[in-house]
């Protein structure tokens, strides 16, 4: 089902391409040895190179290159053994060199692809145009002084990967799913923490609209959108704006726009006439980056199992539905958690518990897998207690709630609270007898043909046993006793 926006002149299709800036996970900056930790005091992580003092020269950090190559391989992309760093020249207060060292004509990584899983269960492929490596700029702070702006150069020179998609995205949902998938892949690879709140992942969104079957029309670029939700919103808002422009007889100008989530609108930042002429040229301070094939091969050998492969394996080996598998593999921690829980156990039961009660508990407590009060080992143990009949499903839920509260092992909790399921037929018979005696009228009704009352008896017995009676045993015994 194509996503179409209905205009006055009929349906419009939207065309979106994303440029994602992903901060490389590395201890040092792209061209200097300065540290990269988030949240440090302003200008505490700045080398003379990052501050662009006279005579300073960039020297490439091999770790950053390795991370970019790893990402390229994770995106099933072509790694270019020779790439070139270029200068992108423009003046801005927080760009100390007066240029950004980036890659232009010869990027490190060429074409690749990302498989995107959509909410409706479909999958689609978004092409990757390129991935190039560049340095980040510093940060201007306008709120520190009544009349002056301050510059924090901590980010200056931090390595970024710009991951440029092809204009293959056709709906806000696809854009959101693409971003989430990309983030998932980057996190699996350990090359970017994908934290949009801290700015380690940001997106520029290119939007155009067209009538079905048409060639691409003029696109507008929405700069620096910093959450998945805002990316999706901005696409919708911008597409509608463009449709309005076309339908009122206007033309869309190629320009850079900003998204204002508060007002729900995009507005012009600079038009084509005011567009920067970046005067790209190869950076003469850096030789072309040449990689040896075995350097790439070595990185390839250390790639982890990525979400797509993991998902296929979960479907194949654990018999999970593609949807369940997809949910579990979104991040490595939950996939690992699930695998620990499922090992040697009923995998569907394991998946249900992980995706149901466990994820629910994380959500409601605001915890992550890393800080979860319930360990994979303990959740596995709980499933074992269900499987061996120690706990009924109902009791298991009570035990789980206590696990969340106390972080204790289920066996300990069962012992402490005496929650063990009762399977002793003698004890259950006694309860049944009690219940039947107390409800003689209902017994008579049942025996005269009112079968529906069976559920009532089960409920009464379970209640009387405080939920500990084994429901299977209760069923069997009730049936024969009621039969008289």
């Amino acid at each position: 089902m194509a996503y179409l926006i209905e205009g006055e002149t009929g349906p419009w299709e939207i065309v979106v391409g994303l440029e994602v800036h992903a901060q490389v996970v590395s201890n040092a900056k792209l061209f200097s040895g300065a540290a990269t930790a988030f949240g440090a005091d302003p200008n505490s992580q700045v080398s003379f190179v990052d501050a662009a003092l006279p005579g300073m020269l960039p020297v490439i950090n091999e770790m950053c290159v390795e991370q970019a190559v790893r990402t390229g391989l994770g995106l099933k992309a072509k790694i270019n053994l020779e790439s070139v760093f270029a200068r992108k020249n423009y003046f801005y207060a927080d760009l100390p060199q007066g240029y950004q060292i980036s890659q232009y004509e010869k990027p490190l990584v060429g074409e690749g692809q990302v498989i995107v899983d959509l909410p409706d269960g479909r999958s689609t492929v978004v092409g990757i145009e390129r991935l190039h490596v560049e340095q980040d700029a510093g940060k201007s702070m306008h709120d520190q002084h009544p009349s002056k702006s301050c510059i924090d150069l901590n980010r200056s020179g931090v390595a970024l990967m710009e991951i440029v998609s092809k204009p293959d995205i056709r709906s806000p949902d696809e854009a959101g799913a693409y971003l989430r998938k990309l983030r998932s892949i980057l996190r699996y690879l350990g090359t970017c923490d994908g934290n949009m709140e801290e700015g380690s992942m940001r997106a520029d969104v290119n939007v155009s609209v067209r009538k079905s079957g048409e060639a691409y029309r003029t696109r507008c670029e929405i700069k620096n959108v910093n959450s998945v939700r805002f990316v999706m919103q901005s696409i919708e808002v911008e597409a509608k704006r463009q449709i309005d422009v076309y339908e009122s007889g206007g033309t869309v100008d190629q320009e850079t726009r900003l998204f204002d989530p508060g007002k729900g609108e995009t507005r012009s930042m600079r038009s084509k006439e005011h567009a920067h002429d970046y005067r790209y040229f190869p950076d003469p301070d850096l030789l072309p980056l040449k990689l040896k094939p075995d350097f790439v091969a070595r990185i390839k050998d250390t790639l982890p199992e990525l979400p797509d492969e993991k998902k296929d394996r979960f479907v194949r080996d654990y018999g999970l539905s593609p949807y369940d598998a997809g949910v579990l593999v979104v991040d490595r921690a939950s996939a690992d958690f699930f695998e620990t829980v499922a090992k040697g156990r009923d995998s569907k039961l394991a998946a249900n518990w992980v995706m149901g009660d466990f994820f629910g508990a994380l959500n409601s407590t605001g915890k992550t897998i890393e800080t979860s009060p319930v360990s994979a080992k303990n959740l596995g143990e709980l499933i074992d207690l269900i499987s061996d009949g120690t706990l009924s499903g109902r009791l298991a839920k009570d035990v789980f709630a206590l696990m969340v509260e106390t972080s204790k092992a289920p066996s300990v909790l069962v012992e402490e609270k005496g929650l063990k399921q009762v399977t002793d037929t003698g004890a259950i018979e006694a309860v049944i007898d009690q219940v039947m005696a107390a409800n003689a009228d209902k017994v008579a009704e049942y025996r005269s043909g009112k079968d529906k009352l069976f559920g009532f008896f089960v409920g009464q017995v379970m209640k009387a046993s405080q939920g500990k009676a084994n429901p299977g045993v209760v069923n069997d015994l009730l049936k024969s006793k009621l039969a008289g």
Partner: protein, 488 residues
């Protein structure tokens, strides 16, 4: 003890070793001489206290037998090299008062070898110029004068302060940098030896950048041997400069004094344009005759793309400069002229901070890199650069070293040529192709013009073959017996 300033570096090392004098004495002699030659304006910043301190430390090291290659030798440092805690201006107003908190690799290497810093030598602003007239700190005077003429002459540029200091014996040697001829042309104008080594031989770390793909540091001295000693001390791989060449630095001094029997000396036919001064032609012929006498063979070579070299250079160098100089924005260091907005502050700072020549080159560079012009200028210039380098590769199949003039004329008077940038740019016509190809080029004085001014010839070598250049230069130096003390 004024003759202490009339020693070569090699002689001074011998004297210091024998205990004939100390580095403090040697340094004092130079500081005295400097105070007498203030008229030359060779230094922007003099550092007498630091010099005496360094000299005293050097004397201690020598006493404990820890002498380096340049132990105790007083040098002038071109003010393009960042020196820790000492004002570094690049000859520009925009950097006035800037004291780098770091030291360039080349000067670090020199201090490690025991050298003493007398001060920071004057230069064309951001090393852009061939006459030393573009310095914000005033023109440098050439210590030489035409016979019977009191008119002040230019020392050449951009390393004009360095050249004048060495020629006038107010430094035993000096660092220079050469982008299109900025060591060789002033060396020729001032009657001294200057070598631009192979690109990558010396680290560019801490040298204020002009055109990164061309800039290269080198020594300026009064003799070939001194240049070999000093280059050995300056050069070496530097992990802080990605374009610095890995591998050991040869002992260039060993080449000095070696025979050149059987050496093939190439003469590029394209370097004899119509109108080349007959004096320069005569000096060139004389140089070739000396080499033949010493057993070398002279061969004609062709560098067919020479005619494009100047145009290529004046696209590539300003392009890189326009980008390299973008960091002088008034935000972090140096001059800031306030404005009502960020853009206004930039514009005012840069308009006031940069001189005319620098602004001209920034404009040229910005233009040739602009969208729509890139392919017509910059991309084409890069292709020509490759062709020019290939010319030299071909030539070096036939020849081991090339001999050419260094500059088309001897030193000219201050004020001449100033109104005509193109004529000024032509001064580098013989040195620029070598720079574009990244090859080593050495200028040495071979004689005097009819009106008594030094004439220089240039030797060009294969990449990383400075040894052949030094070997050949030493032979010529001996034959020329140039009056090197005339300007002291």
């Amino acid at each position: 003890m004024s003759d202490l300033t009339h020693l070569t570096i090699a002689e001074a090392e011998a004297g210091l070793d024998k205990g004939n004098f100390t580095s403090v004495e040697l340094t004092k002699a130079h500081l005295d001489a400097m105070s007498k030659r203030k008229d030359l304006n060779a230094y922007i910043t003099e550092t007498p206290d630091q010099a005496l301190r360094m000299a005293a430390d050097s004397d201690k090291r020598r006493a404990s037998k820890q002498a380096g290659l340049l132990e105790g030798i007083p040098l002038a440092i071109k003010d393009l090299f960042c020196t820790e805690g000492v004002q570094t201006t690049a000859g520009s107003h925009i950097l006035e008062g800037f004291k780098p908190p770091y030291e360039s690799t080349v000067t670090t290497n020199l201090w490690k070898q025991g050298a003493v810093m007398l001060g920071k030598a004057n230069l064309d602003e951001f090393a852009m110029g061939s006459s030393n007239m573009t310095s914000h700190y005033g023109a440098v005077k050439n210590p030489w004068k035409r016979s019977g003429d009191a008119k002040d002459l230019v020392p050449g540029g951009s390393s004009g302060g360095s050249a004048a200091a060495v020629a006038a014996c107010i430094a035993m040697g000096a660092t220079g940098t050469d982008t299109g001829g900025s060591i060789r042309q002033p060396a020729a104008f001032c009657g001294i030896v200057g070598i631009k080594p192979t690109y990558g031989r010396c680290s560019r770390f801490g040298i204020v950048a002009f055109a990164s793909s061309l800039d290269q540091a080198g020594p300026m001295t009064r003799t070939v041997k001194d240049a070999a000693i000093m280059l050995k001390a300056m050069a070496g791989h530097d992990p802080k400069d990605s374009t610095s060449t890995p591998g050991p630095t040869p002992d260039f001094t060993k080449a000095v004094g070696q025979s050149i029997k059987g050496l093939r000396v190439g003469v590029p036919v394209e370097y004899k344009p119509d109108g080349l001064s007959s004096e320069i032609m005569a000096a060139w012929d004389k140089g070739l005759a000396w080499l033949k006498e010493a057993g070398a063979e002279v061969v004609e070579v062709s560098l067919p793309h020479t005619k494009y070299a100047l145009a290529t250079y004046y696209i590539v160098a300003p392009a890189e400069a326009s980008s390299n100089l973008a960091r002088y924005d008034g935000v972090r260091f140096g001059l800031r002229v306030p404005g009502n907005s960020l853009d206004e502050m930039y514009m005012k700072t840069r308009a006031e901070g940069f001189g005319r020549e620098v602004r001209r080159r920034i404009l040229i560079g910005t233009y040739v890199l602009s969208a729509g012009y890139y392919d017509a200028y910059y991309a084409k210039a890069q292709k020509l650069r490759t062709l020019i380098a290939n010319d030299f590769k071909q030539a070096f199949q036939k020849a081991d070293v090339l001999l050419t003039p260094t500059a088309p004329t001897p030193a000219f008077a201050i004020g001449e040529n100033l109104d005509d940038p193109i004529t000024m740019y032509l001064n580098d016509v013989f040195t620029i192709p070598t720079s574009l190809a990244g090859l080593p080029g050495l200028s040495l004085p071979v004689g005097l013009s009819a009106d008594g001014l030094p004439l220089g010839l240039q030797l060009i070598g294969r990449p990383f073959d400075e040894e052949t250049v030094f070997k050949t230069a030493a032979v010529m130096e001996q034959a020329a017996s140039f009056k090197r003390w005339e300007a002291c």
